[in-house]
C-alpha cells in the first residue's frame, strides 16, 4: 500500500470550504462558558472574518491556476474548476451578507447564539464542497451536511410553534428525499461497474440502460425536493413562513444555488439516462405554471416569495433541458448567470423582510404600506429586487430570463419559452403588489417605523446596485458563466 500523499492542488482546492468549517468550530468555542460573555458584535465579526478568509482562499485559487479544470482531486471526490469556483463565490458572498444582517436580527428575538453563525458556516462549507464535488459519495455527504444544518436553522427559534412545525416538516420531507437520492445513487453505482466519480460513470457506458434511467430519476427526485420543484414542493411555503426570515433568505439563495450547481454537474457528466429530458420538461412546465399561479393570491410576503422561488426553480430547469438536448452543450450557460442574478435579488428581498420581521413577526403585504416614506432606501432596494424577479428590463433578472428563453428557442423548445414568458407576465402582477403598497399607500400608523440596521441597509443597497449593474452591463458575467460551463467536462 502506497503512503497517502496530498498534492498542492488538492490542499488549495479544499481551502475555501476548510476556512468555513474552521470558522464554524471557532464560533462554537467562542460561546463556551457563559453564552452572554461574547457580545453579538464579536460573533458577527468572527463569522465575517471566516467568510472573508474563505473568499481569500477562493481568490488564491485564481492566482494559482487558470480557468482550466485541474482534473479530479482526492481520488475523484472533488475538482477545482471555474464552475465550482463560481458556485463557491456565490455561496461565500451570500454567507457574508447573511452574517451582516444576522447580529441585529438575532439579538432582537433573544436568540443571538453562536450556533446560528456556526451552522451557517458549516452549511456554507458543505455547499462549497457540493459545488466542487465530482463523485456520488462526496455529493451525498455534502448534501446531508448542508441539509442537517439548514433543518436546525429553520427551527432555530424553538419558542415559536410555527418555526418548530416548519422545521419538523422540512426535516421529515428532507430525510424522505435523501432516501430517494441514495437509492438512485446506489443503482447508478451498481450499474456502472462500481464507479463513483461522474466521469467514470459516464465512461462506463451504462447510461442507455433502462435501470440507469430509473436511478437518475431517483437522484433527480432527491434534488427536486431540495430545490422545491412542483410535485415535491409541499414543504416550501410552510417552512418559508415558519422559519426565521434570515434563515429563509439563506435557504432560498444558497441551498437552491448549490443544489442546482451540483445537479447541473451530475447531469452534464452522466447524461441522465433515457427519459431525463422528457421528465425535466414536464417538471419544468408544471413548476412554472403552479408556482406562479399559487403566488398570485398570497397575503404573506414570505409565502409569496416561497411560491416565486418554486417558479424560479421551474425556469432554472430549462437550461438543463437545453444542455441535455445535445444540440450544443455550451448553451446551458444561462444557468450560472441566472443563479447569480437570482442570488442577488433574493438576498435584497429577504434583507427587507428581515428588517420588517425584526420587531415582530410581520410579513403581511399590508405591513409594507408607506415604506417608501419611512425607509426610502429599503423600499428602493425591494423594488429593484421585485422588478428583477419579475424579469423587467434593466435588471439582472431580465438578462437571466432573456438568456434562458432565447436558449430554449435556439434549441427548439419553443413551448417551454412560450410558457415561461406567459408565466413571467402573470408573475408581474404579484411582484407589483408590494411595490404599489410601498410607494402609493399611506402607513396605517405613524408608529409603524421599521428598524433598519446598517447591515440590512448595506445588504439591500449592495444587492440592489449589483442587480442594476449586471442588468445594464451583463457581458462580463455572461462570459464568465459561459466559460465556467465549458470547464465542467474538463
Amino acid at each position: 500500500m502506497e503512503p497517502l500523499t496530498l498534492s498542492k492542488a488538492e490542499i488549495l482546492a479544499v481551502l475555501p470550504a476548510g476556512a468555513l468549517f474552521v470558522t464554524g468550530l471557532i464560533q462554537l468555542l467562542s460561546d463556551l462558558g457563559d453564552p452572554n460573555k461574547t457580545s453579538r458584535q464579536e460573533k458577527t465579526h468572527l463569522a465575517m472574518i471566516g467568510a472573508t478568509g474563505a473568499l481569500v482562499a477562493l481568490a488564491s485559487l485564481f492566482v494559482q491556476g487558470t480557468a482550466a479544470s485541474t482534473g479530479e482531486l482526492y481520488a475523484g471526490a472533488m475538482t477545482d474548476d471555474l464552475f465550482g469556483r463560481l458556485g463557491a463565490g456565490v455561496i461565500i458572498v451570500t454567507s457574508l451578507f447573511c452574517t451582516l444582517m444576522a447580529g441585529g436580527y438575532l439579538s432582537s428575538s433573544g436568540n443571538n447564539r453562536a450556533e446560528f453563525h456556526a451552522l451557517v458556516s458549516f452549511s456554507a462549507g458543505a455547499m462549497v464542497l457540493l459545488c466542487q464535488s465530482t463523485n456520488l459519495v462526496s455529493m451525498f455527504v455534502a448534501i446531508e451536511t448542508l441539509s442537517l444544518a439548514v433543518y436546525v436553522l429553520a427551527g432555530f427559534f424553538r419558542q415559536q410553534k410555527a418555526a418548530s412545525e416548519g422545521a419538523f416538516k422540512y426535516f421529515v420531507m428532507g430525510a424522505f428525499s435523501s432516501g430517494f437520492l441514495l437509492l438512485g445513487m446506489a443503482i447508478i453505482y451498481g450499474l456502472s461497474g462500481a464507479s463513483l466519480s461522474f466521469s467514470a460513470i459516464a465512461a462506463a457506458g451504462a447510461s442507455d440502460d433502462a435501470l440507469f434511467a430509473v436511478g437518475a430519476l431517483l437522484v433527480l427526485i432527491g434534488f427536486a425536493f431540495k430545490v422545491g420543484v412542483v410535485p415535491f414542493h409541499s414543504w416550501v411555503p410552510d417552512v418559508y413562513q415558519g422559519a426565521p426570515t434570515l434563515a429563509v433568505g439563506w435557504m432560498a439563495v444558497a441551498v437552491k444555488a448549490s443544489s442546482f450547481f451540483a445537479l447541473c454537474r451530475f447531469l452534464y457528466h452522466t447524461g441522465g439516462g433515457a427519459y431525463m429530458d422528457q421528465i425535466l420538461i414536464a417538471l419544468s412546465i408544471v413548476t412554472m405554471i403552479l408556482g406562479n399561479l399559487a403566488a398570485l393570491n398570497q397575503q404573506s410576503l414570505k409565502r409569496m416569495l416561497a411560491y416565486s422561488g418554486i417558479a424560479h426553480s421551474g425556469y432554472l430547469m430549462i437550461p438543463l433541458i437545453v444542455a441535455l438536448s445535445g444540440n450544443d452543450i455550451l448553451i446551458g450557460a444561462s444557468l450560472p448567470f441566472y443563479l447569480c442574478a437570482y442570488a442577488g435579488t433574493t438576498l435584497a428581498a429577504f434583507g427587507v423582510l428581515t428588517a420588517l420581521s425584526k420587531a415582530t413577526d410581520k410579513d403581511q403585504l399590508g405591513d409594507l404600506n408607506g415604506l417608501a416614506k419611512s425607509r426610502p432606501l429599503l423600499a428602493l432596494g425591494f423594488t429593484v429586487a421585485l422588478i428583477s424577479l419579475a424579469g423587467i428590463p434593466l435588471t439582472a433578472g431580465f438578462i437571466g430570463k432573456l438568456m434562458i428563453f432565447s436558449d430554449a428557442i435556439g434549441a427548439g423548445f419553443v413551448q417551454l419559452a412560450v410558457i415561461g414568458i406567459l408565466t413571467s407576465l402573470v408573475s408581474v402582477y404579484y411582484y407589483l403588489r408590494p411595490i404599489v403598497a410601498m410607494w402609493f399607500r399611506d402607513p396605517r400608523s405613524s408608529f409603524d417605523l421599521i428598524p433598519a440596521p446598517w447591515g440590512v441597509q448595506f445588504t439591500v443597497g449592495a444587492c440592489g446596485i449589483a442587480t442594476i449593474v449586471f442588468g445594464i452591463f451583463p457581458d462580463w458575467l455572461v462570459e464568465l458563466s459561459r466559460i465556467s460551463v465549458e470547464t465542467i467536462l474538463g
Binding site: 500500500m1 458584535q41 472533488m78 433543518y151 435501470l211 434511467a213
Partner: protein, 196 residues
C-alpha cells in the same frame, strides 16, 4: 458455500426482510414496528455477509440493530404510547396515497430491472469478468480502512462535520430555555451597543 445453499439462504433472508419491513409500516404500536425493524436489519446484515462483506455485515448488526435501535426503543418508551393515546394514523385517503407512492416506486424499479440489459448480463454466469475472482481481502477490515482513509479521505473528514452539526442541532433543540433574567441582561446590553 455451494450454489443452491447460497440461493436458499438468500431466499430466506430476502423473504423475511421484506415481510418484516411490511410489518414495520403496518403495526399500530411503534414498539412492534421497532422490533420488526430489528429483524429487518439483521436480515440485511445476513445479505451483506453472503456477499463476503463481513465487516459491513457486523457493522450493520452492531450499529443499526444494536445502537440505533436501542435509541429508538428508548425514545418510544420515554413517550410511552398506549393504544388509546396513539394518534389516528390518517384516513383511508392518506393510506391509499402512501400505498400508491410505494407501488409507484416498486413499479419503477421493476420496470427498470426487467428492461435492463446490464442486469441480464450480470445474471448470466460469467457475465461480469471483473468479479469472477474475489480477492482474499475483500470485505475485510484492513481493505475497508485503507479504502476509507485513502480514497475517501475528504468525505471522511466532511462526515465528521456532519456528525458535529447533528450534535449541535440536537443540543440546540433539546436545550432548556434560558431563564428570564438572562434575557433581561441581554436586552440591557443591547441598548448600550449600536446596531450591527
Amino acid at each position: 458455500m455451494s450454489g443452491w445453499l447460497e440461493h436458499l439462504v438468500f431466499g430466506i433472508l430476502a423473504t423475511v426482510s421484506v415481510l418484516s419491513s411490511f410489518l414495520v409500516v403496518t403495526r399500530k404500536n411503534p414498539i412492534y414496528s421497532a422490533l420488526f425493524l430489528v429483524v429487518m436489519f439483521a436480515m440485511v446484515a445476513g445479505i451483506f455477509m453472503l456477499l463476503d462483506a463481513t465487516f459491513l455485515g457486523f457493522m450493520q448488526l452492531l450499529v443499526y440493530a444494536g445502537a440505533i435501535m436501542v435509541l429508538y426503543l428508548f425514545v418510544i418508551m420515554l413517550i410511552n404510547p398506549r393504544d388509546e393515546t396513539l394518534p389516528d394514523e390518517g384516513g383511508t385517503s392518506e393510506k391509499a396515497f402512501a400505498a400508491g407512492v410505494s407501488l409507484l416506486v416498486f413499479a419503477l424499479l421493476t420496470f427498470g430491472i426487467s428492461n435492463s440489459d446490464l442486469v441480464t448480463e450480470m445474471t448470466t454466469p460469467g457475465g461480469i469478468p471483473a468479479l469472477a475472482e474475489v480477492p482474499a481481502t475483500h470485505g475485510a477490515i484492513e481493505a475497508f480502512g485503507y479504502e476509507l482513509f485513502s480514497k475517501h479521505l475528504l468525505v471522511f473528514e466532511v462526515a465528521s462535520i456532519l456528525i458535529l452539526v447533528g450534535i449541535i442541532g440536537a443540543v440546540h433543540i433539546a436545550m432548556k430555555q434560558r431563564p428570564a433574567s438572562a434575557d433581561e441582561n441581554d436586552s440591557n446590553e443591547e441598548r448600550l451597543v449600536t446596531d450591527v
